[in-house]
Each structure stands twice: as structure tokens, then as C-alpha cells.
């Protein structure tokens, strides 16, 4: 068999916002041994009771095709879109990062935060909480820079993603 390389895909899933729908999606991934690198869920269309799940997963092309087919056959799923292959798309993640420290390190942390366009949203004399948004690797990099400067806690939202330009994921398909 040809050795197949694992690749990362960002998949958007539009689902009915009903009890258990997230468990169905997560159960599908764990039950069939697929990876979840990031998962973001919230209601996006209140009137229509629709939620959007953005999942970043990795697998061989055959596995990615399976993941999409398996998601599509779940009863409460309206539509599935592989943003990685369906054209240009944007991905963003938000992180809240707490850094504790005094003196030089504090100043350095602030300077780097500025370079990353991270905002200070809480401050005490011994700590900052930064808010930073961007692609996953930007946030990863910011966190690694904060480590020697007193990084104490991180909260991340996971990836939200959307296609560029006109059209996208809709509930009528």
C-alpha cells in the first residue's frame, strides 16, 4: 500500500442545536479513532436553533474523507464543509494568558504583547492577563515566549473558521 501522509484539516459542521448533538460528534471521533486537535462549538443561528462546530483534525486523505462522510450521515447534521480544501478560508483563535512576575520580566512581557497585538485585559502589580487572537501558531508562539517570563495559566477557545468571499456553509444542503 502507498504510505499515506497525515494532514491537518479544518472542518465546519452545521448542526441542530439539540441535546446530545455534541456527544454524537465527539463520540464519532473517539469511537472510530479519529483525532481532535481543536473543537469549537456554539450556537450561531439562534432563531433556527443551529450550532456551528469547528473541528481541526488530522489524518490520511482516506481518513479525512471518512470523517466527512461519517459526520454527514449523523441525523442532526445539516452540512459539513472541509475548509482546508473548499477554497481560501480564515482561521482565528482567542487565548487568555496569565503571566505573573515583577521587574524586568514584566516589562519584557508587555513589550512582546505589544508586538503580538495582545491586549492587557487585567493587571495587578504582580500579574497581567493578555488577550490575544490569531492563527493557532501565532498563539502557540506567544505562549512559548511568555514561558520564561512567568506564564502561569492559559485559556484558549479553539479554532473558529470561515471561508473567504461569497457563499459558505448553509443549512439547506
Amino acid at each position: 500500500m502507498k504510505p499515506e501522509i497525515s494532514e491537518s484539516h479544518t472542518i465546519s459542521v452545521l448542526v441542530d442545536n439539540e441535546p446530545g448533538v455534541l456527544a454524537r460528534v465527539i463520540g464519532l471521533f473517539s469511537g472510530r479513532g479519529y483525532n481532535i486537535d481543536s473543537l469549537t462549538v456554539t450556537e450561531t443561528e439562534h432563531e433556527a436553533h443551529l450550532s456551528r462546530i469547528t473541528v481541526v483534525t488530522a489524518g490520511t486523505p482516506m481518513v479525512i474523507e471518512q470523517i466527512k462522510a461519517q459526520l454527514e450521515r449523523l441525523v442532526p447534521v445539516h452540512s459539513v464543509m472541509d475548509l482546508t480544501v473548499s477554497g481560501p478560508s480564515i482561521e482565528r483563535e482567542l487565548a487568555l494568558i496569565k503571566v505573573e512576575g515583577k521587574g524586568e520580566k514584566r516589562v519584557e512581557a508587555l513589550r512582546l504583547a505589544d508586538a503580538f497585538r495582545a491586549r492587557v485585559i487585567d493587571a495587578t502589580t504582580e500579574s497581567f492577563v493578555f488577550e490575544v487572537t490569531g492563527r493557532t501558531n501565532k498563539i502557540d508562539q506567544f505562549i512559548s515566549l511568555m514561558k520564561p517570563l512567568g506564564l502561569s495559566e492559559v485559556a484558549r477557545t479553539g479554532v473558529a473558521a470561515i471561508s473567504r468571499g461569497v457563499g459558505g456553509l448553509s443549512s439547506d444542503s
Binding site: M1, D16, R73
Partner: protein
């Protein structure tokens, strides 16, 4: 027309509106309101099983032999958990089931109440879909939706969990048996260009093979008819999975027998050497493919399946077609007839000659024995003596199941009910109960092993209660034969825990249940006993004492390819690799 009624009334009403006439169940605290309604009406007949697993298997037998949705009614907690094996079985074999479970009242959910379990949580991975209905106003819609989901697309089991207070509550029932689902709309018609491409590929084949499966049966009788048409007009050889037996008649000219782990030599060799393969309504299961990297290495593969997730799951295919078997077959037959070019006659003749060579191996042959009943012989006799009757066969799981598939020759769809995907020992007896309920005048035989049948033996009591004259035909070798066979082949002949000691006296056991028992251990007595069994208008347990150490061949050992079959005990097996041993 919408009208007010209680949740329990709605359950009955919705079932009747769906055309249900028979349900299989077991009462308990959380479904008492539904049972109370049940005894005050005459449209639905309830079959009281002895264990909830039996209820689901009976509903499966009912569904598979009729093409209808099987319906199950069980209580909360243990009622639901006991049903899990049956639900998983129905999911793996794509059998349409609606299973209604009682639940503790909504205000107690999550409180670890008596007989509470998280039914939707537990059954989520073993159902096609499930519902917890917390508002009686949703109940009618959900019940109809459940039937829609269970029977449309790739069929499967659906659970509707109904808390007891919802059964008592009053709400509006809207009669909407026809559902237009907002999200679940499976694709029925295949993609026309793909179908045309598939027909072209088939027509240009020099070594074609048609490999069909349970999807043909699920698609309905017209799919079997169209499959026969396609085989006739192409003249191509056909094989089938365990699940698809009967779609093409075993007496048909182009039939090669079943394929796969215990399939015929000719079917597996033809699969290995073919240049174009049409897989229709089957899913390249590991029992079929053997070693994946050596599976049909030279074949252009066409795959027709209603479930897109079956395509490219195990085997990469060249021409995928998503759609219902009958619809796609109809298109294929039409397009084939309309084209003028004919397939390469010469190549086809050579291919059939090759198949005839393979057939000469007589891979289903076995050593005859005048003193001991060979299990294969017992099935052969059973077939010969019942073939002119209206006969339905179910099985348990193991050697007897494979021998039944090999030696009982199915001519029609919906006549063969066996646990294929999950391999559930104990399936056959309750399935026979369901089949006999659906076909009261037919001859229903569960070809069983003594180990399997003891797992659900309690359902004999159900058969006796409802005067369902099922015939339990046990090939009794006092072993879990298939387990022992694997231990012999793969585990240095160490027979670990697969010998059945202290078996009951099956004749006395039958009598204890109020049924009729037979015991035969001489080949010469077999025919008369079978004839006598057929004539008995009561449930029967037939203890057929067979050769204890006979093994089931041919066999593709795990991790081996189609052209590496073992044909019998005498042939020295190549050492199975560690990677092969890991496979089940």
C-alpha cells in the same frame, strides 16, 4: 388530524398509523402506561419475550423476513441495557428497528433513580439515531421520525426513550406518518455519469466479477430481481457476502457460492484475479477482503452503496456510486441494454474456463462418514428435505453458521437471517421467534450450535407460549467449534475453555419447556428424524450429534490473502504471522 391524547396513547396510535401489527417486548415500571394502553386495544399484537435481547433479535428476524420495520418495547434501566446487544447487532447488519424504551420521570433523570440509566447515552453509539422525548407535544412527531430514520437510507435501529411522566401527560397528536426530514435525506438515485462509466468498465472487462451483499436484500425484492437481470444479460459470474445470500439464487448458472473467510475457492480466487469488480450493497468487510494489501490487486473496483461512509473506508475504489441498489441496478440494466458494443466473448469464455478449473477443487467437499453425522451432511439433508417448502432459516454464530451458509442453498431474498456484522451468539432462536410470528405457516428453522443457543434458550418459552412451531436444529459437537478451530490453527492446538461440559439433555430441556425434543446420532436415522421434525406442529429442539472435531473449510486464515486459502485439515498451513494473529 390532530387530537388530544396521552403520551401512552400516542405510542399506540403512532405504531398503528405506521402500519405496525406486531411488537416484541417486556414490561416494567417505566413503561406501564404504554402496556396499560396496549391491553385495551386490538390493532397491535404483543409478543412477550423472556429477555430484552430476545425482543430485539425477534424484531430483527421479523424485519429481515418481511422488509418491514421491527418494533421493540422495553422498560428503563436493565430493560434498555439488555437491549443493547440486539441494537448493536441491528446497527452492524443494517436492520430497521424502532425500540421504545421507558425512562424514569423527567424530574428524576440524573438522580440515579431506581431502574434509571442514561439510555440515550448508552445507545448513542449502537443506534442509527436516538431520541429522549421530554415534551409530550414532540412525541408524535418523534415516533414518526423514528420510523423514517430507521427505514430510509441505510436502515438501522432507532431508540425512542420516553419518560414515564411524558407517557401520562396529555398533548396533541398529529398524524404525520410521512416525514419530510429537515436534515436526513439520503441519496437514492445514483450519479448518472458514474453509472455510465461503471457500465463501460464492466462491458470492457475480461475477468469480471459481481460481488453483492445485504444491501440488495435491504433495498427490497426489486433489487434482487434487477440483480438477476444484470447477471443474466452480462453473463458474468456472481458471488455474495454472508448477508446477501438469496439475492441471486444458489441454483443460478452464474453462482459461484459465498466469498470471504469461509467462502468457496472459486469465488475467492475469482475475486483475487478479476480485472473489474462490481461491489453492490456490500462493504468490503474484513471477513471478505482478507489481507487488504493483497485484495484484488488487478481490479478496477466499482462500489455501489447507499451509505457514503462505506465508500473508500477499507478499500480504495475507482468508481464510487452513492445510491440505492435497486435504483442503480435499474439504471445499469437500462444502460447495458442500450449500448451496442458487446463484451469480449472470448475473454469471458476463458474466464469461465478458469473458474471451472477452480471449481474442480470442490472446496466445500468433506469426508463422508457412515457412522458419525458430519455437520455438512446434516445441513445438506436438511436442505434437501425442506427445499420444496416455504422455509426460512436463522442461525446462531460459529461453525454451524458457516456450514449453513455453504450447504443450505438460498434461492430467494429474505429467507436467510444471520448475525453477520456483530456475530452475536444467541441470535438465531429469538430471530426464529420473530420470523415465525411474521410467517405463521412457514417452516422456520434455527440452524444452531449447542453453545450459542444456550445464550438465549429462554426464548423457547416464548415460542411455546405463542405456539410458534420453530425448529431449533442443533449441530451438537460439544465444543464452541469455531473457537476451538482457531485455537487449533493459531494457538498451538491449546483448547482453552472451548469445550462445553455439563450440557443439558436437549430432549428433556425441550420437554421441560413444553416443546418436542429429538436426538439423532446416526447418519442413517437423520432423514426420518428431519421429516418427523417438519411434521411436528410445535416448537422443536433437534439435538443432532455431529462429528466433534470437524472443522469448517475452506478458510482464509486471518492476515492472509484470497489466494492463500486453506482447503482442509490435511493441508499444512503456513505459519500465520503475529500481525495475522492479532486480527479477529
Amino acid at each position: 388530524m390532530a387530537r388530544e391524547m396521552t403520551g401512552a396513547e400516542m405510542v399506540i396510535k403512532a405504531l398503528v398509523d405506521q402500519g405496525v401489527t406486531d411488537i416484541f417486548g417486556y414490561p416494567g415500571g417505566a413503561v406501564l402506561p404504554i402496556y396499560d394502553e396496549l391491553c385495551q386495544q386490538e390493532d397491535l399484537t404483543h409478543v412477550l419475550v423472556r429477555h430484552e435481547q430476545g425482543a430485539v433479535h425477534a424484531a430483527e428476524g421479523y424485519a429481515r423476513s418481511t422488509g418491514k420495520v421491527g418494533v421493540v418495547l422495553v422498560t428503563s434501566g436493565p430493560g434498555a441495557t439488555n437491549a443493547v446487544t440486539g441494537l448493536t447487532d441491528a446497527l452492524m447488519d443494517s436492520i430497521p428497528i424502532v425500540c421504545i424504551t421507558g425512562q424514569v420521570p423527567t424530574h428524576l433523570i440524573g438522580n440515579d433513580a431506581f431502574q434509571e440509566c442514561d439510555t440515550v447515552g448508552i445507545t448513542r453509539p449502537c443506534t442509527k439515531h436516538n431520541y429522549l422525548v421530554k415534551d409530550v407535544e414532540d412525541l408524535g412527531r418523534v415516533l414518526h421520525e423514528a420510523f423514517y430514520v430507521a427505514s430510509n437510507g441505510r436502515p438501522g435501529p432507532v431508540v425512542v426513550d420516553i419518560p414515564k411522566d411524558v407517557q401520562f401527560a396529555t398533548g396533541t397528536y398529529a398524524a404525520t406518518p410521512q416525514v419530510r426530514h429537515k436534515t436526513y435525506r439520503p441519496k437514492i438515485k445514483g450519479d448518472q455519469p458514474a453509472i455510465r462509466e461503471a457500465v463501460e468498465a464492466l462491458a470492457s472487462a475480461k475477468k469480471p466479477i459481481i460481488y453483492s451483499g445485504g444491501g440488495i436484500i435491504n433495498s427490497g425484492p426489486s433489487a434482487s430481481r434487477l440483480l438477476r437481470d444484470l447477471v443474466r444479460i452480462t453473463g458474468y459470474p456472481i458471488t455474495s457476502t454472508l448477508m446477501g445470500l438469496g439475492a441471486y439464487p444458489a441454483s443460478g448458472d452464474n453462482w459461484m457460492g459465498m466469498l470471504g473467510m469461509h467462502g468457496t475457492y472459486e469465488a475467492n480466487m475469482a475475486m483475487h484475479d478479476c480485472d473489474v469488480m462490481l461491489c453492490i450493497g456490500a462493504r468490503f468487510d474484513d471477513r471478505i477482503t482478507g489481507r487488504l494489501d493483497a485484495f484484488a490487486p488487478h481490479a478496477k473496483k466499482i462500489h455501489v452503496d447507499i451509505d457514503a461512509s462505506s465508500i473508500n473506508k477499507n478499500v480504495h475504489v475507482d468508481i464510487p456510486i452513492i445510491g440505492d441498489c435497486a435504483h442503480v441496478l435499474e439504471d445499469m440494466v437500462r444502460i447495458w441494454k442500450a449500448r451496442s458494443a458487446q463484451p469480449d466473448k472470448k475473454a469471458l469464455e476463458a474466464w469461465w474456463a478458469q473458474i471451472a478449473e477452480w471449481r474442480k477443487k470442490d472446496s466445500l467437499g468433506y469426508e463422508k462418514n457412515d457412522d458419525i453425522i458430519m455437520p455438512q451432511y446434516a445441513i445438506e439433508r436438511l436442505y434437501e428435505l425442506t427445499k420444496d417448502r416455504d422455509v426460512y432459516i436463522s442461525t446462531e454464530v460459529g461453525q454451524h453458521q458457516m456450514w449453513a451458509a455453504q450447504h443450505f442453498h438460498f434461492q430467494e431474498p429474505n429467507r436467510w437471517m444471520t448475525s453477520g456484522g456483530l456475530g452475536t451468539m444467541g441470535y438465531g432462536l429469538p430471530a426464529a421467534v420473530g420470523i415465525q410470528k411474521a410467517h405463521p405457516d412457514a417452516l422456520v428453522i434455527d440452524i444452531a450450535g449447542e453453545a450459542s443457543v444456550l445464550m438465549t434458550m429462554q426464548e423457547m418459552s416464548t415460542a411455546v407460549q405463542y405456539r410458534l412451531p420453530i425448529k431449533i436444529f442443533i449441530l451438537n459437537n460439544e465444543y464452541m467449534g469455531m473457537v476451538r478451530q482457531w485455537q487449533q490453527l493459531l494457538h498451538g492446538n491449546r483448547i482453552s475453555q472451548s469445550y462445553m461440559e455439563s450440557l443439558p439433555d436437549f430432549v428433556k430441556l425441550a420437554e421441560a419447556y413444553g416443546a418436542v425434543g429429538f436426538r439423532v446420532d446416526k447418519p442413517g436415522d437423520l432423514d426420518d428424524a428431519i421429516k418427523e421434525m417438519i411434521e411436528v406442529d410445535q416448537p422443536v429442539i433437534f439435538d443432532c450429534r455431529v462429528h466433534k472435531l470437524a472443522n469448517c473449510y475452506p478458510m482464509i486464515p486471518s492476515g492472509k490473502a484470497h489466494n492463500e486459502m486453506l482447503l482442509g485439515d490435511g493441508v499444512e498451513a503456513e505459519e500465520v504471522s503475529d500481525a495475522g494473529k492479532v486480527l479477529v
